[in-house]
Symmetry: D2
Subunit: 352 residues, 4 copies
């Protein structure tokens, strides 16, 4: 159920409807938009008695939602969600393209800073690095844990980049929430519903990656878990799906971008590093991702890819990332997106 | 690394080698077999100095393991793992076929007992029922929680069937470990490594289901996570994978059974209910599963499938489960397996 | 459209309705069944005027068919199609299980006879061998062509086995129709509609293999192409589909067997050789195929698999085929199927 | 085997080596490049005696090719293949982007001309339209046949666009070769090796579409069939593969473009119409295809999509195609490609 408020409904009227909903035993989710505020109702089995709400002050109409997802739907919120961060102009989901770059895993202070310095200079506004690594083998490097988080906090301090890093269970999520700016939920945990609920109660935005064989609907429903707990700052990320094709590690499904944007107000990233698994495919697919309309890119960069403790073959050399940024900026300008940050100033010299 | 003890090595010699390994800073996993004991070494990055161990009393040879999985491998343990339970002759992995049956979710005491009575009478030695349900939608029925576990404990009391139920996070795993006989890890959590590690520290056997798009190697590595923490009582379960095919909910991959049995000593179940998603396919695919050599079946049965709160379309009516058991018994006898329990006595009257 | 005749309609009445249909400019396909004859109408765009036909002598009712396939549907023909051959009791689609065995390709007279002698002795009623091989590489062995067909005709002469071999274009189909007993259309040509139409005008039965990524509906529609041209003797064959799974060459989809049998009257084979691509998986999956209810098996056997010019790794040694036949006979007896031929006499000595 | 000639080898020397190869019983394929000519050798089982050739005048070296594909490989021909057409500057594979547009099927003279007029005006240099349609159902519209070809020949006459249309068997290929400029082999026939060989003997260029579940290697090997018969003017086309994903008709695999370009000298198109199956995804994916580096686009446009006899839901309205061309031109300019034709002049007015 969805309550659409009138264009000029007051804050008080919105609050009144929300309180009524909660008194009825449900949960109210107010989503302010440019034109109007809509209020999603969850926690109801079956239908809420429509009449009571329809008669309230400021209410325009009460709509039954037939899709399985509610809060992530454009039906509830027509305008794109834009995630903002204190102390930076960088956003996720606005006109600016959000660029996330960094190593697969934080391996040491030296390595992390070496990469951070270069991706920052190239224009990335977000730094990624794994402190908790979900590895196929129990005998592989599992990340530096809290030590890795501390290193990334220093990187934020030094370069002003916002930090995105993965949480793999409730314990690590507590720490990631404390140290980082965006909590990443990885592909393998896309349907770890217990973790999604915990992320829904976090105070930080969440970046949710698509599961390896998740349909569009399952992906949106996983996001719905987070929103249903009250955290509306969620960004999605396409990172390739598993198919028979063997020329890339995964098959990057770029058609998902316009498909998500049609159904949902949430921003969506593309991760061409996991999406292809091959260094020489990352830049062309980054261009394609921006051209198709993605709201951001998430790219693995390593100062010494050949010595990386994980995902070396798909990590770019810093020079390659510079080149990627140049190309991406030009594509971005064609599709009406900007790439803010240091890079923008540099752009003047680039021959277009 | 793998230390193979001599055929007549004493327990003391085995203990000596294990202690030596632990003193070197690694973890020792002794796996007694019919002919010999082998000791797996984990926790080593790179190679352990072979010489020290090779010279110890009772040691026959020290072998480098080239496969990524170690403890689940037949290289380490030639004999099939057989999981035994106090107070019943039912095993998982022995000559007897393990039959797990019950509703998708425990919905009420009445429903659970109604199903339990019927599947027990038909010969099932294990009762399944979900208390914690991983549901695609946050708004769907999520299970009765601890109340469901209590109902199942009563069922064990009454019928003697052992209880298998799913844990979805550390909290529910604590409770499942307390109430149930086998802890199930579902397909969606197959690479929830944090949960796998917790299950590896549990005192109860674990049933691990294959992820929706997991390769054989990823599946074995997920099991390796559990064994690497010291819990060697692990059974696997094929439950269909996601493909383009749309005549069934998933594509049941029966070739996985002989493939697992070649590489690993762990028993493997087939779940034809999730594997097909269609009631009318469950019995034929159960016959096929037993014919291909599966160690057990996991089947959803409901007293009123049309009113089931989840998975109704794939749940058998109790009468259909009776018929399934009859057919499965006959196939089992051809492949040298028995179906123990009440059913066995009944078998006398069945015309073969 | 489908005209259902009364139970006691005379042949003349059936003929009358068919002639009427043809006069209206359509094509009539009479399908006699145990209880009644039904007449399928094709060639109509949109609907046929029902009235005219409904009033004719012997007509019980005229039914609109909503499914895209008509002639292959059980709606038109309730009874299973049984394909019979002169001079042998072997059938495709009856109670007897049809066993097709032989090498991937006929490589020489010696090789073909060596294999034929063994598979015949083991109980196969059909001999398979490729004379025209669709090979991924233009530089691989493409088959002996007509010479291969002549060798197989000699094998029929000598052993009484019926010959099944693949046609890859109209030219080879002409020759296969002349020399062989069953025309095989391979997986790669499942949607070569031009070839399907030609096969539909052939005087010999057709074995149609499922395409590598064909849905059930596409598979049935491909068969419909053959029937729509007037050839109703069609058998289907599941041979594995392409998925992400890499432990077998293809993923054998046994759930297709009951799915086909529900919707269609056509018999269906399983090819566990292509379905798995691995010799050690062929026998377990053959057991499973018979247990699930397949009407026949198609198995690759070679006298010297290691020297085979194609598909060596999935070809059984003759001794392995003997063992397969023993096991399959026992499973067959459980599901109410017989394995006729020499093997049947041998069966007496087998301890069940 | 591959003979690399010296940079300044004369035509006579090249001819000499080719004649020698043919005298040895093999087939020689001379591939002139910007720097050097290389000569591929096919028809050899095993190795050709290297010595004889290495000593010939003009020969620099003789190389063994380890990849299964030879003639399509960049090892043989370093420079991109550029397909040229008499009477037009449009090329396939050059700096200019090749734009193919038109209806799925030619339904009538009026329809075809209506679409042709619009796509020509928008800048398409190639007109597509099916005269022979491979349809899933035998009862669906199968194309106008030769009448359709005649209509397209008139369109070429009137608008100067080159004609691309599909051949589905040897008979239709004869006619397509006569009437059209490029012979298309569809996805369903990608491994119809008999048809590929016939196309290899045709005098016109061939556009080969990727099969629905073809790996990169299988795709290149299918092209190799055509080249091995002497037709070196081959272009490839990615058109989506079959996966579990259900938000689009197929999953468009754009990573294939850089993958093909790395291994082969052949140009590669993208077909976003079949690749997505949804009108609203065609334009974003066209942008992405050009951004990733495709050599051309193949787009379905219909004057009345809602009345189309096939593929209506994925066909663009002419106005949408105008908009697509505008966007594509801008992306093209970023990746160093031009969109020649009428469109180019129009471009001046477009604000970039």
């Amino acid at each position: 159920m969805l309550v659409v408020m009138k264009a000029h409904a007051t804050e008080e009227q919105v609050r009144g409807v929300c309180e009524k909903i909660e008194r009825l035993g449900y949960r109210a989710h107010a989503m302010p938009g440019a034109q109007r505020t809509a209020i999603g109702i969850t926690g109801n089995k079956g239908e809420v008695e429509q009449g009571t709400l329809e008669e309230m002050a400021g209410v325009q109409e009460v709509i039954k939602v037939s899709k399985p997802y509610k809060l992530v739907s454009r039906d509830l919120k027509e305008d794109n969600t834009v995630i903002r961060f204190a102390g930076t102009e960088a956003t996720i989901g606005g006109t600016g393209l959000a660029i996330v770059a960094g190593p697969c895993a934080v391996e040491s202070r030296e390595q992390a800073f070496a990469v951070a310095e270069r991706v920052h200079r190239a224009g990335a506004q977000f730094f990624r690095g794994g402190a908790y690594k979900p590895r196929t083998s129990p005998y592989s490097f599992q990340g530096l844990g809290e030590e890795g988080l501390r290193i990334m906090a220093e990187i934020r301090q030094q370069y002003g980049m916002k930090i995105i890093t993965e949480a793999i269970d409730n314990e690590s999520l507590d720490l990631v929430e404390e140290y980082a700016d965006v909590i990443q939920i990885g592909a393998r945990n896309m349907q770890n519903f217990s973790l999604l609920k915990r992320a829904g109660r976090a105070k930080k935005p969440v970046l949710l990656k698509r599961g390896m064989s998740a349909t569009l609907e399952e992906f949106l429903m996983a996001a719905e878990y987070i929103l249903s707990e009250g955290n509306y700052n969620v960004a999605l990320c396409e990172r390739g799906v598993r198919t028979f094709a063997d020329h890339t590690r995964n098959t990057l499904d770029l058609s998902l971008i316009p498909a998500v944007q049609r159904l949902s107000h949430l921003p969506i990233f593309v991760d061409p590093s996991h999406g292809t698994g091959k260094r020489n495919k990352v830049t062309p697919l980054s261009r394609a991702a921006v051209a198709v309309g993605a709201d951001g890119l998430m790219v693995e960069v390593h100062n010494k890819p050949d010595e990386a403790m994980s995902d070396g073959p798909q990590s770019l050399f810093p020079d390659q990332f510079d080149e990627l940024m140049k190309q991406v900026r030009q594509i971005a300008s064609v599709v009406g997106r900007t790439v803010p940050g240091i890079g923008l100033r540099e752009k003047v010299g680039v021959s277009m």
